[in-house]
């Protein structure tokens, strides 16, 4: 019961703040709601007993990326942006596409004859103290099973970083 209440709390918070992120006019307010949404997602990770993902979500997204976001938002002159119309006029197209997507999902559920969540394979929850330690498990899968993809990804990120530095540097 407690699990359910916590899950719906975090899920509702994530969705509501995601909506508010889009609808707020003030960019800093949007950033705050985006942070809330990310934190709520981190809470769901924690509920799934993925502690490592929880803290990585907080350190990287909230502590790293969002700080840079806010930094940039404060540097850019937003008074001009506020006066302009923020959204491109695609309301009707977006509405049609969203309805189509909703219909598709609904059709899927209808044709399978099951409500959301029904008939999904449910694993028996293990006691928390008998689960494998999360950060160790992540480390084993990253550095043993998926070492090559991991290294490729890190080289890719390094290339992106060097590229950013080169582009930002003044040409002499």
């Amino acid at each position: 019961m407690l699990d359910k209440v916590l899950f719906y709390f975090f899920a509702g918070l994530a969705v509501a703040s995601a909506v508010l992120t889009v609808t707020r006019r003030n960019a800093v307010h949007s950033a705050i709601f985006l942070i809330t949404s990310l934190l709520a997602t981190a809470g769901i990770f924690l509920q799934l007993r993925a502690e490592f993902l929880f803290i990585v979500q907080i350190i990287l997204y909230v502590g790293g990326i969002m700080v840079l976001f806010v930094f940039v938002i404060m540097l850019v002159n937003l008074d001009v942006a506020v006066r302009q119309i923020q959204f491109a006029r695609q309301k009707w197209v977006a509405l049609v596409i969203a309805l189509a997507l909703a219909a598709q999902v609904g059709l899927m559920f209808w044709s399978s004859g099951k409500m959301p969540g029904q008939g999904l394979p449910v694993q028996v929850a293990a006691a928390a103290d008998r689960l494998p330690l999360n950060s160790e498990t992540v480390a084993h899968s990253l550095f043993e099973s998926y070492l090559l993809p991991f290294e490729i990804a890190s080289v890719l990120l390094l290339v992106a970083m060097i590229g950013a530095v080169v582009m930002a540097k003044k040409r002499t």
Binding site: M1, L2, K4, V5, N26, V28, H29, I32, I35, E51, F52, F54, I55, I58, I59, V62, G63, G64, M66, V67, L68, V70, F71, M74, L75, L133, N134, S135
Partner: protein, 458 residues
């Protein structure tokens, strides 16, 4: 629906009443501790500048924090007209909330930890306390003032730069521990018989410098540099909101000191905890408290007012009670050896707590010492120190510590013998980082010279 919520709440309380209680205690006690840290800081500052410091409220200013707190609480709370009200309200709360939440992950001795045995232990503390930056940035933005905004920008730039160095320093310390769990880290130091600060001195140094920068303290207190920015991001805050920022700063200081203590300075372990003939050190804590009590008794007659004399004696009595509590688990097994097993957990809890708090206090004292001896850095110097020296140093240190660990395993070195490989590793890391710095500054010098020649040639 209502029923379900009530049921969930009861379930929650049943499971978590003890951590909740501890949390409430910490939230209630922390402002007092912070107040007294501030008092100590003012006293240390006064001592270093050959003054007396606060002397008026209570004997030797011992009641000054309470007077300050009352003053801050009854001050007018001003919100600027053009401020973003909601964010202005939210910012200090965020700041202090992150600091308090991070304390939940810390372990003050083996017995006292609000959230015991979390798998991500030290990452939780570091990650949550890093969120406090939003309080500073949003507060600076919401005040709608240029000084505040500059302070906030400086603060976020500084934090993002120094967090990398601090994180890398933590990584090289954690390589020795092999776990993120706080209890496991301290246990690893106990079984190896040596603090990781000795095995990774470079990491301790980098973490020390970076943690000063992260807590925005002098010599890196540029976000609130009085001579340039009035008070930086706190300029428009007054009264209780301002004191929340203050509380957050000191809570963060306690957090970084605790992280450094846990990872590098042996956590709650007594110095040489595994060496049997050094166990006379167990008498240190009670004797220290008795000495403080004796000093207070000695000074009591010199107080000018009767109330102050009584207060001084009360302080002495308190110290004496603490000394008794500390002495009991050491003395009882000596008087009656059969009690040893019963007393053991109490000994670990009480003495562990004492040593942990003692180390944290020493670390914070070093912060104060630095604050009053080193002049403030300029912003470009700060960035240069971070990006050109500390970050390369910490990254190189992670590499060489890894190599040293492999070498130690190869030669079957353990405990103090590991110094044979880790000391050269530390020296290599330092030399390499200094070489990078030297190459960089000579290049900069050449560029400057070239620019000057070009300027005069025109």
């Amino acid at each position: 629906m209502m029923n379900a919520v009530v049921q969930a709440t009861i379930e929650f309380l049943k499971l978590y009443w003890a951590p909740l209680l501890c949390g409430v205690v910490i939230v209630a006690v922390l402002p007092i501790i912070v107040g007294y840290i501030v008092l100590v800081e003012r006293k240390v500052m006064a001592d270093m500048q050959a003054r007396l410091g606060p002397m008026r409220v209570g004997p030797h200013g011992l009641l000054q924090p309470i007077a300050d707190a009352v003053k801050l609480l009854i001050k007018e709370d001003i919100i600027p007209d053009n401020a973003d009200k909601l964010v202005f309200w939210l910012a200090p709360v965020l700041s202090v909330g992150a600091g308090l939440l991070a304390i939940a992950g810390l372990a003050i001795g083996p017995a006292f930890q609000i959230a015991p045995n979390i798998n991500i232990g030290i990452l939780f503390v570091v990650g949550i306390s890093a969120m406090g930056i939003f309080g500073i940035v949003l507060g600076g933005w919401a005040s709608n003032s240029h000084y505040s905004l500059m302070g906030a920008l400086r603060s976020s730039a500084q934090l993002v730069s120094y967090e990398t160095a601090a994180g890398m320093a933590l990584v090289s310390g954690l390589l020795f521990a092999g776990s993120l769990n706080i209890t496991a880290i301290v246990e690893a130091q106990r079984t190896q018989g040596i603090w990781f600060g000795l095995l990774a001195p470079v990491a301790l140094f980098v973490y020390g410098v970076a943690s000063i920068a992260e807590t925005n303290r002098a010599p890196f207190d540029l976000p609130e540099a009085e001579s340039e920015l009035v008070a930086g991001y706190m300029t428009e805050f007054s009264g209780f909101r301002w004191s929340l920022y203050f509380l957050a700063e000191y809570a963060n200081m306690i957090v970084v000191a605790s992280v450094a203590t846990t990872l590098f300075l042996g956590g709650w372990l007594r110095p040489f905890s595994e060496v049997h003939w050094m166990s006379f050190l167990d008498f240190g804590p009670p004797l220290l408290m008795v000495a403080i009590a004796a000093y207070c008794v000695m000074r009591a007659p010199k107080q000018p007012v009767r109330v102050q004399q009584l207060f001084m004696l009360a302080v002495a009595g308190f110290c004496f009670v603490v000394a008794l509590v500390l002495a009991a688990p050491v003395l009882l097994p000596m008087l009656k050896p059969s009690l040893a097993a019963v007393v053991q957990p109490y000994y670990a809890g009480i003495h562990g707590g004492f040593w942990f708090l003692f180390k944290v206090s020493v670390y914070i004292y070093c912060f104060m010492w630095l604050r009053f001896t080193v002049p403030r850095y300029r912003f470009d110097q700060l960035m240069r120190l971070g990006w050109h020296f500390l970050i390369p140093l910490s990254i190189i240190n992670v590499l060489v510590v890894g190599v040293a660990l492999i070498a130690a395993e190869y030669f079957h070195l353990q405990g103090w013998a590991m110094l044979l490989v880790t000391t050269p590793a530390a020296i290599i890391a330092l030399v390499a980082a200094l070489a990078i710095l030297a190459v960089d500054s000579s290049r900069k010098e050449r560029e400057r010279a070239a620019a000057a020649t070009e300027f005069y040639a025109r």
